[in-house]
């Protein structure tokens, strides 16, 4: 098992250096975004409007965090199921998005777009939101505040632990892992 440290935003070269199964610690900026925020970003792109965040080289974390307790940066903040974002993802990747953090399966259109754009799909541990929140050092809402937990936050993370599930060649840890242990 390889453990790598990667800073975000991610360069094309770095994205292509990651392989399915790598354990990665991310440091830098992540943008949050889940169902409702994706729908809005997608509709803005269709209309040719300027987006509230820059996508080039960025990583989107599929999460709707709990509110922060007084004195805390953020509440529990683990990944949500990625497949619900599949309808919007190829357009975001074409616009420069380099990485996604979530959990669960992606459809073929997303995998094809990951290969085409040299991007990477990471998974964080679903249901470990209290643990993952400890790696989040700053959090600020930057768009769609009216969406509550679905607003877009800009997060600054240090050594945020993820695993590469689908790499830029299309290799898929979910398939590889399950094949190895299926009886």
């Amino acid at each position: 098992m390889v453990e790598k440290r990667v800073s975000t935003p991610i360069s094309d070269k770095t994205a292509r250096s990651l392989s399915a199964g790598d354990r990665v610690l991310l440091t830098g900026i992540l943008y949050t975004g889940r169902d409702a925020a994706h729908k809005r970003l997608f509709e803005m792109m269709k209309k040719g409007e300027n987006l509230p965040i820059e996508l080039n080289g960025q990583v989107i974390y599929y999460v709707g965090p709990c509110p922060a307790k007084p004195g805390a940066v953020i509440g529990s903040a683990g990944p949500t199921t990625s497949g619900r974002m599949d309808a919007y993802t190829p357009a975001l990747l074409d616009a420069g998005l380099k990485g996604m953090i979530g959990k669960g399966l992606r459809n073929k259109a997303v995998v094809d777009s990951i290969i085409k754009n040299g991007a990477v799909y990471f998974a964080a541990i679903g249901g470990a939101g209290a643990l993952l929140a400890q790696a989040i050092k700053e959090a600020e809402v930057v768009a769609f505040e009216d969406l509550g937990p679905e607003a877009i936050y800009r997060l600054r993370v240090e050594d945020f632990p993820v695993t590469v599930v689908i790499d830029s060649s299309g290799a898929d840890l979910y398939k590889m892992g399950q094949q190895a242990y299926r009886k």
């Binding site: 709707g64 683990g78 199921t81 541990i125 679903g126 209290a130 969406l147 892992g177």
Partner: protein, 281 residues
């Protein structure tokens, strides 16, 4: 007749919302700890260790185990010798949810309309309340906050009686296999067999309230639970779907008499954050 103020119900509900989201049931935590040694995959072992560590952090810091603090689902046994005074029962439960989710810093995850407006209700209401009138003068309130990720992987099949045990097994194992990494494995699988369409899904959900390792009193059903657990853990999905032995921590079945024409089967998937908690008033 015993008189109970609905304000007491509201306060109990508020505390249940908070405590169920901060403290993982002991049996679930123990099962996760034990699964670390059983898991063969190195990455699977690490994931299970992190999941246990996460539950410890949540309990110690008083924060949600998972950010998806769920739909607030209640099972309430209301003793028929209780007279409720001081206001509306459903309103008291919803007020408890409103207070618990606000004061516990829990996420508000409910939208007011399912398919066109989808505006967040901002207080996690309405709750889903299943009420049962029972003998006695007590009120037992059980909360089982349910996350969307695992709920979305649940399924229902209106099987034919001729499909038999093999048909049930095939449907359950295929449902878990298809769900793969989506419902946050290791999962707990709640199964309802029999009744009508709504009864079978309700008893499937109630099967998730059982303790890990608890077997159905009917030995034939208990055997089916054990066989299903074994088959599911041969799928190789493993913790978080990265491959491994521990795909499910347990399988629980509830049954109900069926119509001569029917054999409905419901599978309610539950992630490893298997929250439920009860209080008796």
């Amino acid at each position: 007749m015993r008189t109970v103020e609905t304000g007491v119900i509201r306060d109990a509900v508020k505390q249940l919302c908070i405590d169920s989201n901060y403290y993982l049931p002991e049996d679930v935590k123990k099962a996760l700890e034990q699964s670390i040694t059983k898991e063969e995959s190195p990455i699977g072992k690490e994931i299970l260790q992190d999941i246990v560590k996460n539950a410890e952090i949540a309990a110690r810091n008083g924060v949600a185990i998972c950010q998806d603090t769920g739909f607030a689902v209640f099972f309430i046994e209301l003793g028929q010798d209780v007279s409720l005074v001081g206001g509306d029962f459903t309103g008291a439960v919803n007020e408890g949810v409103r207070l618990g989710y606000r004061e516990g810093y829990l996420r508000k995850s409910i939208v007011d309309d399912p398919f066109y407006r989808r505006k967040n209700t901002s207080d996690n209401t309405p709750a889903i309340i299943h009420t049962f009138i029972v003998p006695g003068d007590r009120i037992k309130i059980t909360i089982a906050p349910k996350g969307g990720g695992s709920e979305n992987m649940s399924a229902l099949a209106m099987l034919k009686p001729s499909d038999g045990i093999d048909g049930i097994k095939k449907f359950v194992v295929e449902t878990v296999d298809k769900a793969g990494s989506n419902p946050c494995p290791p999962v707990i699988v709640g199964i309802g067999i029999g009744g009508t369409i709504e009864q079978t899904t309700l008893i499937a959900k109630m099967a998730l309230l059982k303790k890990i390792g608890e077997r159905h009193p009917d030995p034939i059903v208990a055997k089916l639970e054990e066989e299903l657990l074994e088959e599911i853990n041969k799928l190789g999905i493993g913790p978080q779907g990265f491959g491994g032995r521990i795909t499910a921590l347990d399988v629980h079945i509830n049954t109900f008499p069926a119509h001569i024409a029917s054999m409905p089967v419901a599978v309610n998937m539950q992630c490893h954050v298997a929250r439920h908690r009860e209080v008796v008033i």
